[in-house]
């Protein structure tokens, strides 16, 4: 199973109760991984309102997950 590193920000960080975690996952895509993590941590934000970045670049929710990926789920932004 791929092992991936997650980094959480803002509301997701608070709901996960941590800034980072490393997980071994059977999820094939970020979309599947988010569903898995949402169930575990009680994330209430639907994926439709998030974006996902893998290895510090925005990417598609269906991009295949690879071992060692650094994954960030991006809640609605509020800069400025």
């Amino acid at each position: 199973m791929p092992r991936v590193n997650l980094r959480y920000y803002a509301l997701l960080r608070e709901q996960a109760g941590r800034q980072t975690e490393t997980v071994d996952t059977a999820a094939a895509t970020p979309a599947a991984l988010y569903a898995e993590l949402a169930a575990r941590h009680g994330f209430r934000l639907p994926a439709s309102q998030l974006r996902v970045a893998v290895n510090a670049a925005f990417c598609d929710w269906q991009r295949p997950i690879e071992d060692g990926d650094e994954i960030v789920f991006i809640p609605p932004v509020a800069g400025g």
């Binding site: 920000y9 509301l11 934000l45």
Partner: protein, 167 residues
């Protein structure tokens, strides 16, 4: 000088503007976003900014450079604060030098709009009543999965990414 930077120290507008000025720059437009004491009817007393810094810096620089090129401006930059801020503090500063005022205003406005809507930066507001919340997140989370009231315009995909980047 990076076109987009984060700072945990107060913004020094004059120092930021100085390197943008050139003999060909007839117009210089600047914008400061400040912490208001009121947001959506609630009394704000302080807030915290956090960001996915590596991605925001890279995307922020692209936003600034694209706006400068598109509008025929000369130079521009943006600095965004991180960490705790009080009412009246400058949260974000944008400055653009251009040959004439039209290009300076247009590029400055485009940059601040994109910075606010597209960069991975988050703001937690602390209210006078003791409550607090992540702006644009709490409402969306509370109304999931319907999320009827969420403003999708604030969570657009980058042009470089396209709609495919959005779930």
């Amino acid at each position: 000088m990076n076109a987009f930077e984060f700072s945990t120290a107060p913004v020094d507008a004059a120092a930021l503007a100085a390197p943008l000025v050139r003999p060909a720059a007839g117009g210089f437009a600047a914008f400061e976003g400040r912490v208001r004491d009121l947001n959506e009817g609630r009394r704000v007393i302080a807030l915290d900014y956090e960001a996915f810094e590596a991605l925001a810096i890279e995307q922020g620089a692209r936003i600034v450079e694209a706006a400068i090129a598109r509008h025929g401006a000369i130079a521009g930059r943006c600095v965004h604060r991180l960490g705790p801020l009080g009412v009246g503090d400058v949260a974000v500063w944008v400055g653009v030098a251009a040959p004439h005022r039209a290009e300076a205003f247009a590029a400055c406005r485009e940059i601040i709009d994109a910075i606010k809507h597209r960069l991975p930066i988050w703001k937690k507001e602390h209210y006078a009543d003791g409550d607090s919340g992540w702006v644009n997140c709490e409402h969306a989370a509370a109304h999931a999965p319907a999320a009827a009231g969420f403003d999708y315009s604030r969570q657009r995909a980058l042009p470089e990414v396209g709609d495919a980047g959005q779930a």
